[in-house]
Symmetry: C2
Amino acid sequence: MVKPLLFGVYEQASVGVGGSPSLWTHPSSTRIHSDRLPFWINLAKTMEQGGLDLLFFGDVLGLYDVFRGNHEAAVKWALEAPADDPIIHIAALTSVTKTLGFGLTASTTYDHPFAFARRMSTLDHLSEGRLGWNVVTSYLDSAAKNFGLNYQLDPSQRYDRADEFLDVAYNLWEGSWADDAVIKDKTGQTYARGDRVRRIDHNGEYFKVQGPHVNAPSPQRTPVIFQAGWSPRGKEFAGKHAEVIFVGKGTADATRSGLAKIRQNAEAWGRNGDEIKALMSMRIIVGKTEADAQRKYEAIQSNYHLEAQLVSYAGDTGIDISRYADDEVLSTASKGHASKVERPIDGHKPLTAGDVKARFSKFTRGEETGLIIGTPDQVADELGRLAGAAGIDGYLISQPVSPGTVDDFVELAVPALKERGLFDDKPKQGTLRSRLNLKGNDRLPTEAYGSRFRQSA
Amino acid sequence: MVKPLLFGVYEQASVGVGGSPSLWTHPSSTRIHSDRLPFWINLAKTMEQGGLDLLFFGDVLGLYDVFRGNHEAAVKWALEAPADDPIIHIAALTSVTKTLGFGLTASTTYDHPFAFARRMSTLDHLSEGRLGWNVVTSYLDSAAKNFGLNYQLDPSQRYDRADEFLDVAYNLWEGSWADDAVIKDKTGQTYARGDRVRRIDHNGEYFKVQGPHVNAPSPQRTPVIFQAGWSPRGKEFAGKHAEVIFVGKGTADATRSGLAKIRQNAEAWGRNGDEIKALMSMRIIVGKTEADAQRKYEAIQSNYHLEAQLVSYAGDTGIDISRYADDEVLSTASKGHASKVERPIDGHKPLTAGDVKARFSKFTRGEETGLIIGTPDQVADELGRLAGAAGIDGYLISQPVSPGTVDDFVELAVPALKERGLFDDKPKQGTLRSRLNLKGNDRLPTEAYGSRFRQSA
């Protein structure tokens, strides 16, 4: 049976976005004005009117300074830069939208869980439960250096810290205030029953937090937990915590087998792995005709610049490709540097600088590159086919041209998806967790790891 | 010559607000719904339409748990609780207002300057320069315990850390990106000139931060710096950094002499102390007639509860007044606890518990209690007189009844103030710094301490 897919948009609070970093130079793009609200309000309203589910923000905490050993090319190309803090964007957009969901990428490596849990509770309150959190542990040495370290913690330490960070956050969100604590009784002069609010007294390796949480329970309490790590440890973490997996580009087979491992890990935590949703990163160029789509593709290709891609490659992998001749084999430059996607971006085959340049010289369609080009029918068919083949529940669409990509998707692709039963056209409402059809409806389900922190009734 | 005053509103992202903590029980109050946006949008729009200058949020990072040694009474009375994070409120309100300024209270004691500077730059961008920052060092032991400490750092260490925090923040805001760095040149494929963006390489006692700042320069770069500390060290800090002083309630004479000291401290930093603005905390009950004002006062008094005031007193001073008989003299309970206002709240006279209870049993008008009651003419006259006597530039109005107080102020007091030339009725626009008529217009003035971090042209 065909089931409707979920559709979100991947964004960054930057001029240049990962995946299509130089495309702010496209004549239709207004991203150089993305430091002002109209750019974002326009996007959010287009998405909401089009019935899309989720505006998701990626994030980085430093500049891409591996290429040529400094930040100059990253700044020239606005490569994931400037990196404004997307929590501000999401908060600003909650007051001009009613039903759109939001996903925030935020790192457990450089923040404090008490302050972070407080910000998230506040945002979940004001958005009336429309918030998701993509848990990341960060991957740039430049970020570590902005927070007092010389190099990053190694990936295993970062995940240990992340696990403890989640323990503190769950305890604040789920455990500190009982369901019957807040009674809002004006005549009885009681906002909440003090004996139903408790300290958490966490005393761990990385954090010591007394509590109580200073926020009353928000509609979802714990925001919807997203995760994107793909290393063995990342998949363990996902099996324990994730309700939604954000899957990078890759073949249907690789995606399906990676997700199977995460689902298997979830079973070890007493969860039903099949209830974890997966959204795949995708770029879509849709035209009314094949010729129209091809024209759009060519305009994109002519504003797609290799150097920007190489700056991005260098930052993601830690390999300063500028120092290699085309026939030299690449090797990781700095020990302990984990690549963005936590897997060798090119598998295990020895790669030369020339191979990488050839790959990134063009915006190429295909499963491995995460690009679909075609008419509405072609796009809808391919989205349906790939979802089935990869075992995913929907897509996070990256915008090669912004504004433009989402407008085209809503105008052209959505009707074709609806015809096929691949797009849910019921009016959208409620919390993000309920909207994504996740187990538990508004709150974490009983068997979630985070639910262990709840007070008994 | 009469000059127009500045008017802001003091708020907290809480149900109970400091100064009138139990008044969410007033029949007209909707504060129990202040966890949703309509409460705040209504306030912000009323202020903007009324031509007020600034919505200012106080903040705390823990519950008031001194009274009876636990948090139960604080939760019952919603005393500065729940404490949502007001940066989310300000961000949410930027997209539904055009000209209103915002003030955020944020502590330098528990945050990291790189992350904080990034959030502030983002908010200054999206608000188009409408942001102020009230620099505080925190005063609750309960907050320290939420961030891994057993007790607070002593006040002198907190200010040392604050000074270094400001150095890092100024360097990121003022020094990292030159004025000519961002060129947004699409055809030239250059967002910003990499050689005009520099690292800050800060290596101090509390922080080590490489940079560059990941945000492009925002309209004000450094948000307008507010400060409220009144201890000798607080006044030193204010002389060095503050553009606006937030003055608590107190007599005109005490205010004038305290401000004179701050202005004198500013001269030592090469600043003109007279350019520092001062806003005084004030509660205003205005009615069409004296009888009308009196009726409003009585409704407030009957929802003003002593226990909530005592919970507040205990948290502010560190003295658990619940443990004292009425005839016992109070003394500070925990060593190293600094009172909220950084001065003995009652001067140097030995005070008994009974004295404090008598004082807080009523909502009393007067300079020392910061409460004005009267007709529009009476209120306007008193605001004008007190401003002259205390040497201040305007007021931050606290709301005994919300909604209500600000609505009354705009409807009744503002016309009377305009008649006297005490309210600027020019249309409001521009950055907060320009709107408050601060030196430098949009940016910190040349002689500001923070301007020392700028790159030469």
